[in-house]
């Protein structure tokens, strides 16, 4: 069983397929859950602790929008933990303001930089049945190559 980073990190389709083929999807919901279930969190409803911006600084300099550092405090550890990654490139749902958009660019950059050491699958969303069949087949082949059992 491998830890597979998925982009978009909130993707239902990727999260389900990774789990279905016997691996652990690294999605941001797990990080959020850890945050909001921690009693020491200091500033709800923002779900940020004083430590989070410091974690984000590891991935983004102080000059970049602060939203990027906050988001990278969640995404950065997941990327480091990843043993494989699946990126869907035409994810309109990941569209957002400057913080979201720059974070998305940085995430893709970090994953591609890491692709020398971990397997990365680059795909696009299916738009018809034929593409759907190919989409699932590509992901299945990729995930079966990582080992694990189908659930």
């Amino acid at each position: 069983m491998a830890d597979v980073f998925i982009y978009p990190s909130t993707s239902l389709i990727l999260s389900d397929l990774v789990q279905r083929y016997g691996h652990t999807p690294l999605n941001v919901a797990v990080q959020i859950r850890e945050h909001i279930q921690t009693p020491s969190i200091e500033s709800p409803p923002l779900q940020m602790t004083p430590e989070d911006p410091k974690k984000g600084l590891k991935y983004a300099a102080v000059e970049v929008p602060s939203g990027v550092r906050g988001r990278m405090a969640l995404f950065g550890p997941l990327i480091e933990q990843a043993e494989a990654a699946i990126i869907v490139n035409d994810a309109d749902l990941a569209f957002g303001c400057q913080g979201c958009a720059r974070t998305n660019e940085l995430i893709k950059f970090l994953i591609r930089e890491k692709s020398a050491t971990i397997p990365v699958l680059d795909i696009t969303y299916p738009r018809n049945d034929d593409e759907g069949i190919e989409f699932v087949r590509e992901i299945k082949t990729f995930l079966e190559g990582l080992g694990g059992e189908t659930s």
Partner: protein
């Protein structure tokens, strides 16, 4: 004024979304089945399926049984917040729940993924040569009436 200390709820639980987009299974019938096997685990019905909150083992056990009902049309993902959390619930915020638009976008494509899952699990798929969309040569020109009738009949079955 000193803020009261933050007290998290549902510590040690996980929440998972269950989506269903199927011609044979409705969210309601899936929820009824979930209640039958829930054994006290919290289930919240929604228009697209449900949210299940409990310990990881309990939630996974329910999801495994629910998937058996319609394996190619039931999809699952994690959720960070529990149901009804005031920071996310639209009863408190108004408008669509954050994250709704992402679900709306992916649910519009999910039928293609279902098709892919059916093809991946069909016995003949292992014998077929892999094809890619790039290699597929779609014939140009209007759709023939006979072909259209065949597609309609296939969809109606």
């Amino acid at each position: 004024m000193i803020k009261p200390p933050y007290e998290p709820e549902f510590i040690g639980t996980v929440t998972k979304y269950v989506f269903v987009d199927s011609p044979n299974t409705t969210p309601q019938s899936l929820a009824v089945r979930a209640y039958e096997i829930s054994d006290g685990v919290m289930i919240k019905e929604t228009c697209f399926g449900m949210m299940i909150t409990g310990t990881e083992e309990e939630v996974n056990a329910i999801i495994t049984k629910l998937r058996e009902i319609d394996p190619h049309h039931i999809f699952v993902k994690d959720r960070g917040f529990p149901p009804g959390d005031i920071r996310r619930c639209r009863a408190n915020l108004g408008g669509a729940r954050p994250g709704y638009y992402g679900h709306e976008f992916e649910m519009s494509l999910i039928r293609y993924v279902s098709k892919g899952l059916e093809a991946a699990d069909s016995p003949q798929s292992a014998d077929e040569q892999p094809t890619t969309v790039r290699d597929m040569k779609h014939e140009a020109g209007p759709l023939e009436v006979e072909r259209l009738m065949t597609i309609i009949q296939e969809e109606e079955q």
